[in-house]
Symmetry: none
Subunit: 230 residues, 2 copies
DNA sequence: CGAAAGCGTCATGAAATCGTCATGCTGCGA
DNA sequence: TCGCAGCATGACGATTTCATGACGCTTTCG
C-alpha cells in the first residue's frame, strides 16, 4: 500500500509532524494544513486520496470543513476527536466521516484505520489486505479474535504484549527501534514519557510467554527488535 | 454467512457510508447508487444477492424501481422508509418487497433483517445460506423466534440481552469493541450518548443468565468482548 | 585492563480496567 | 394510577497490567 496522498488538517504541529513522519515512512505522500480554511484550499488543489481531519481547528472547524467539502467531493475523511464524547462521533458520522480516531491515539492504530478506509474506498488501487491470521512457524496471531496460539493452543497475552507482537509481525521481520515501538504503541502523547527500558520489559514478558515456541523475538543491538519469521 | 453482494440504492450519502462500512466489515461486498435510474442499471450489471432500497429517491423512486425490477428479477429487496406511512404503501401495493426497515434504524437491526431476508430467499440464487439457528455447545440462538435455548430449554432474555448475544454470535468469535456494540445496538441517529460502561452491565446480566452453560462470553481487555464458539 | 554502554531480569508501587452492587429513571400494562 | 421489568449510570473494590529503579551480565573500545 503506497502511493497515496494524504492531507492532514490539524493545528497541533507535533501531531502533524508525527503523522507525516510515519506515513511517509510507509511510502505515502503527506500534505498538511493548520487550519480549516487553508485545509479546504489545499484539499481542492492537491486532491488527496484521504483526509485526516481534526475537529477542533482554527478558522473553520472540522465539522464545518466536512460539511462544506462533502458537497464537492467523496474523498474519504477520517476524523480526529479530542473528546471522548459521543456527540462528536455521531455528528461526524452523520456528516460523512468514514471513520474516527480519538486522541490520544497510537500511530499503530491510526495507520490501521487509514489502511482500512483506503481499502474500503479505493476498491481498485488498494494493497494486499492485512491477513486475518499472521503465522510464523507454530506461532499464530489472530488479530480479529485478539488471540495468540502456539501450536494451536490459545495463549493469553496482555494488551500491550499483544500489540508488541502484532507490530513485530506486521513489520515483516524488519527491525523496529525502541522509539518506533514506543511511538506506535503509546501514541504521540509524550506528556507521559515512557522509558525505553519499559519496552525491554514488555519484550521480556512476551518472550517468556512464547518460550515454548523458541526464541522468535531477536534483539538487534543498538537498533531494536525484530521477529524471526523463518 | 458472508460473501454476499449487496446493492444499496439511497441518496443520503451518509447512510450509504454507514451501511457500506458495517456490511463490508462483515465481509459482504457493497455497491451503491444514489438514484433510482443508476440503481437499476447497477442492479442489472452487478447482479447483487440483495437490494437495500430507499423509497424517496431522485430520478425514479423506490416503488417505481421495485415495480420495474420485479419484472426481470426475483432478487430480494429490503425497503428503507423514512415515514411510518410509507409502510402501508409498500404493503398495500404488493410490490414484492421482502421486508422493510424504518429510519432511523440501528445497524444491528438492519443486519438482522438483511440476514433474515437472505435466509428466506435461501437456496435458489444466494451463495451461502444464512443459518437460522446459531449454535455453540449447548447454547442455541434462534434468530427467527427471538429465542435462546440452553440445553434445549428456552430461556428468556430481554431485548437488549438478546441483541448482544446475537451480535456476538454473528461476529463469529471476533472481538467486538464496546463502541461497535453501542453503534450496532443503539443506532446511528441516537442523540443521547450511552456510557460504554452500560455495555458491561448488559454483558454481566447476560452472563448471569447463561451461567449454566459456562463462561462463553470472554472479556478481551482493552478491546471488547467475544464469544467462545469451540 | 577498566570503564562505559546495551541489555535481561527481578521486585515493587502505581494505575488502568473490569465486575458488581446499588440506585433512580422510564415506559407500559394491569 | 400503581407497580414492575428493563435500562442507564455512579460508586467501589479486586484484579490485572504497567512503569520504573536496581542489579548484574556481556560486549565494546579507549
Amino acid at each position: 500500500m503506497s502511493g497515496h496522498k494524504i492531507l492532514v488538517v490539524e493545528d497541533e504541529k507535533d501531531i502533524v509532524r508525527l503523522i507525516k513522519y510515519n506515513f511517509e515512512k510507509d511510502g505515502h505522500k503527506v500534505v498538511a494544513a493548520h487550519d480549516g480554511e487553508s485545509g479546504l484550499a489545499l484539499a481542492r488543489k492537491e486532491k488527496p486520496d484521504l483526509i485526516i481531519l481534526d475537529i477542533m481547528l482554527p478558522k473553520m472547524d472540522g465539522l464545518e470543513f466536512c460539511r462544506t467539502f462533502r458537497q464537492e467531493s467523496q474523498v474519504p475523511i477520517l476524523f480526529l476527536t479530542a473528546k471522548k464524547s459521543e456527540v462528536d462521533r455521531i455528528l461526524g458520522l452523520k456528516l460523512g466521516a468514514d471513520d474516527y480516531v480519538t486522541k490520544p491515539f497510537s500511530v499503530g492504530e491510526l495507520i490501521a484505520r487509514v489502511e482500512a478506509v483506503l481499502r474500503r474506498a479505493g476498491s481498485a488501487a488498494v494493497k494486499e489486505p492485512v491477513a486475518a491470521v499472521l503465522r510464523a512457524g507454530e506461532l499464530e496471531v489472530d488479530a480479529e479474535r485478539h488471540e495468540v496460539r502456539i501450536k494451536g493452543r490459545p495463549t493469553t497475552l496482555t494488551p500491550k504484549e499483544f500489540e508488541f507482537l502484532r507490530l513485530l509481525f506486521r513489520a515483516d521481520g524488519k527491525v523496529l527501534s525502541r522509539d518506533t515501538l514506543l511511538e506506535r504503541i503509546w501514541g504521540y502523547d509524550k506528556s507521559m514519557d515512557i522509558d525505553t527500558r519499559t519496552v525491554d520489559q514488555h519484550i521480556a514478558r512476551l518472550r517468556k510467554k512464547l518460550r515454548s515456541e523458541g526464541q522468535r523475538i531477536l534483539t538487534v543491538t543498538n537498533a531494536g527488535y525484530r521477529i524471526k519469521l523463518d
